[in-house]
């Protein structure tokens, strides 16, 4: 086995004052799965983008199979067989699935025109390799697919290029549990075939399940490389964030008494085909998790509570109000005091082109204004306070928020809403793509907020954090809350059983599904 199949020597990249990569040397072998670890902003994506020809390094060389590569853009990297699945999806929304899979190298006929028929065959084959050819229609446009299927298409698009080096930059973050399993099988097959797989994930259990080798990055530097499983998690975390983490999850206090009037109470909530009579209640001081397999109505529920869906029936009581607010703006009103942290921070959470300052202020600006005139001094004070409380790492609040690392961007989204002093927080997967260290800070923050009397409804795709953080977890299945688990009942098994709507004593109907979901929870 060639250990130096892919080799980077002395690679550096600066963005203004920030060294995203400094003098990084690193190599990976053929036929192996190599995990890249590091906290947010460690430079992982920058490294991968360098390999993919998207970022041009200030210094250093990249070698593949001993040959030095000169790359002027992604096209060259792809020609070399380096295929990257980026953190931001790179599908074309208005093209068909087939066209997306064969996007840049479609089969062509004698006239040089795209051969639709062969293109469809190729695409079908690629999906078949993942095992998803039956659930995705090749003619459907990607914009009409759910997020999880889009990610499958993205992976198929990489597979079809027969990569020599395959890079996955948090490419599994939006997959359903069963699809994650399929993708892992695929990656193992590719490894057998000699592909060099580089794999970035903030989920340690995925790393444990897949990686042969791990490399840790910190502050743009390559810290260490070691065989997977050779170091305990605590050690890896210490390498990543430079300090040990004693405990990821804060301790859970006594839950509020049942007599406390819920701040959010929902009954018989229905909407379209996705919500079929949801019942739930969240009390002040309580963190309630929302779990289940992907696509069981969790997202719709959150959107319905925020007043973003149109045809909603049933009772929703928030504070003293008996109807949901009319969108996020209504939610800010005194009568509701609620905040929705959206799932997609790059498009919905942040105005990426604006500064950190402008993003942080935007939600609470009306609170520090009189007659529509903003109090600048109050605004500055507020923002300084937010940066401090949430420990947002930015060189300056005037820089564009797009230049912050993912975790810090997520903190900005949280901070801008906390500035409105909400009493109900609706969180949609707020830790996706956030590193352990930051996660820990964020969990603490949620706990502190709850202690101050906030009611928190927390939707997550990560079973582990539901158990670790929440007082109670509601499991959804087919548009309904099927179970409310707390205390001793709050275990992976229980979540799983309910997520698949299996009675406690029933035998699992489908082995592989249980297996897949079980794996997702096994941290």
């Amino acid at each position: 086995m060639n250990n130096d199949y892919l080799q980077l020597v002395g690679v550096s990249k600066r963005y203004g004052g920030i060294a995203a990569l400094s003098d990084v040397s690193f190599s990976a072998a053929r036929g192996s799965i190599h995990a890249i670890l590091g906290e947010n902003g460690a430079g992982k994506s920058t490294l991968m983008k360098t390999l993919a020809g998207v970022v041009r390094p200030d210094a250093g060389v990249v070698r593949l199979d001993g040959r030095e590569l000169r790359m002027t853009g992604p096209a060259q990297a792809l020609d070399e067989g380096i295929v990257c699945i980026f953190q931001e999806l790179s599908l074309v929304p208005h093209l068909s699935v087939a066209a997306n899979i064969c996007l840049a190298n479609p089969p062509r006929n004698r006239l040089g025109l795209i051969d639709r028929h062969r293109q469809n065959e190729m695409a079908r084959e690629a999906l078949a390799r993942i095992g998803c050819d039956r659930q995705i229609d090749l003619r459907e446009r990607c914009i009409d697919l759910p997020l999880s299927q889009r990610q499958i298409v993205e992976i198929a698009k990489a597979v079809v290029r027969r990569p020599r080096v395959l890079i996955l930059d948090e490419a599994t973050s939006a997959l359903t549990a069963e699809d994650v399993e399929k993708v892992m099988r695929l990656l193992r097959t590719l490894r057998e075939e000699g592909t060099c797989v580089l794999f970035i994930s903030h989920r340690m259990h995925e790393v444990d399940a897949l990686a042969d080798t791990c490399s840790v990055f910190r502050n743009g530097e390559h810290v260490s490389t070691f065989p997977a499983g050779s170091k305990p998690h605590e050690e890896i975390v210490r390498l990543m964030i430079g300090r040990p983490i004693a405990q990821v999850y804060p301790p859970k206090p006594q839950p509020p008494a049942a007599s406390v009037r819920p701040y959010l109470q929902v009954s018989g909530l229905r909407s379209g085909t996705q919500l079929k009579g949801v019942e739930l209640a969240v009390r002040p001081g309580e963190i309630v998790g929302l779990g289940g397999l992907d696509g069981q109505g969790q997202r719709e529920l959150m959107l319905a509570l925020a007043g973003l869906l149109r045809d909603v029936r049933g009772d929703i009581r928030i504070g003293e109000q008996s109807t949901p607010p009319n969108g996020p703006r209504g939610g800010k009103r005194e009568a509701y005091r609620m905040a929705l942290i959206p799932e997609d921070r790059k498009t919905e959470g942040l105005a990426l082109g604006q500064s950190v300052h402008d993003n942080l202020g935007v939600c609470a600006l009306d609170r520090i204004s009189r007659w529509g005139v903003v109090d600048h001094a109050a605004e500055r004070a507020l923002i300084a306070d937010l940066v401090k409380t949430l420990q947002i790492k930015a060189p300056d609040t005037r820089v564009a928020v797009s230049t912050l690392s993912g975790g810090n961007q997520q903190k900005v989204v949280l901070a801008k809403w906390l500035a409105t002093q909400p009493r109900l927080l609706l969180l949609m997967d707020p830790t996706r793509g956030v590193d352990v260290g930051t996660k820990q800070e964020i969990y603490r923050l949620f706990r502190d907020l709850a202690a101050k009397g906030l009611a928190i409804l927390f939707y997550s795709t990560d079973c582990d954090e539901l158990i670790g953080l929440c007082d109670r977890v509601l499991v959804m299945y087919d548009g309904q809350v099927r179970a409310s688990l707390a205390g001793a009942m709050l275990t992976e098994e229980q979540i799983l059983m309910n997520a698949m709507n299996l009675g406690r004593r029933d035998a699992p109907a489908n082995d592989s599904r249980v297996h897949a979901a079980a794996w997702e929870c096994a941290a």
């Binding site: 498009t347 942040l350 105005a351 604006q354 939600c363 903003v374 801008k416």
Partner: protein
């Protein structure tokens, strides 16, 4: 080191769009002045300010709309409608009520802005096409109305005083109006919620909506402001020309947009400063005046005009692209 500081400071200043336009403006003046010393005369320069004022007021409204990433192509006939309504009501009111005229004109502008805003913000029709359609309707409405009714085209005393008069015998009142509008826009963009929201919505509307901003109202507001600006310009122009007349707005559409983008505001929205717009207005006004006085053929004038826009905007975008 300390002696270097001011010059680097100065240089960095000229790297901003506003600075670059001012530089171009100075160069233009110098060039023109060497060809004909009269270009330096205060009378001439004040006249440029005077005619720049009409374009300036229009460009102020256009800046707000462009900062949102939208565009208002109804400017020409909004301006004409406002002037027509203004003069017609002046006559109908008569005497003491004559000044209802300009008020009615501004109300008409606001109403048209409202129509634009409703189409763009609430019906979600692309502004380029909606405001174009509105412009066509306004043309039709004015032609129909003016062709069927004997109406006065005489401006009210206030319109005449603001459009054509001068304060202290020198400073054109139109320039004062432009200054007032500018002050209001600068203050609005910097200090008010509306201004801050305009930048947020212009950067990314969904994100703004998810942050609890009523983005539709912001868009509506900007279009109303743009309509009012066009109306003010129309009323001033009617005062200046001593009459309202059809097609009086046509010469302002493209220069209005050009002034904003030459001033460094991104046509995609979210980025730009009002100071740049003011500089852009001055540059464009002065350039077209000088070219026509030097009797450059229309063809060459057009070519110069296009080149200036390409070069100026190209300069900024290269810099931003890094």
């Amino acid at each position: 080191m300390s002696t270097l500081a001011p010059s680097t400071n100065l240089r960095s200043h000229f790297k901003t769009p506003t600075g670059a336009v001012l530089l171009a403006l100075a160069a233009l003046l110098l060039l023109g002045g060497t060809l004909n010393s009269q270009f330096f005369s205060p009378t001439y320069l004040l006249l440029q300010l005077q005619s720049g004022a009409f374009l300036g007021v229009i460009a102020a409204g256009a800046t707000l709309v462009i900062l949102l990433g939208h565009i208002d192509l109804s400017v020409p006939w909004t301006l004409t409608v406002a002037a027509t309504v203004g003069t017609a009501v002046t006559r109908a009111g008569g005497g003491a009520w004559a000044e209802l005229g300009p008020l009615a004109g501004i109300a008409a502008g606001a109403l048209i802005g409202l129509l634009n805003g409703v189409g763009v913000a609430y019906l979600r029709i692309p502004s380029l096409i909606w405001t174009l359609a509105v412009n066509t309707i306004l043309l039709g409405a004015v032609a129909f109305y003016a062709g069927n009714t004997v109406i006065s085209s005489e401006p009210s005393p206030v319109m005449a005083a603001l459009g054509a008069g001068r304060s202290f015998g020198v400073l054109p009142n139109a320039v004062l109006v432009w200054l007032a509008v500018s002050a209001f826009v600068v203050w609005g963009l910097r200090r008010t919620l509306m201004g801050r929201y305009i930048y947020a919505v212009g950067t990314r509307e969904v994100a703004a909506h998810m942050s609890g901003i009523d983005t539709r109202r912001v868009i509506l507001g900007a279009f109303v402001a743009s309509g009012v600006c066009s109306a003010i310009a129309g009323l001033l122009l009617a005062g200046y020309a001593g009459q309202s007349y059809q097609r009086m707005g046509d010469p302002f559409l493209l220069p209005g947009i050009a002034a904003v983008v030459v001033g460094g505001t991104s046509i995609l929205g979210g980025r730009g400063r009002y100071g740049g717009t003011v500089a852009g207005v001055l540059l464009i006004t002065l350039m077209s005046s000088m070219l026509s006085l030097m009797h450059v053929p229309e063809a060459v004038k057009q070519i110069c005009y296009g080149l200036v826009v390409v070069v100026m905007v190209g300069l900024y975008s290269r810099r931003q692209g890094g």
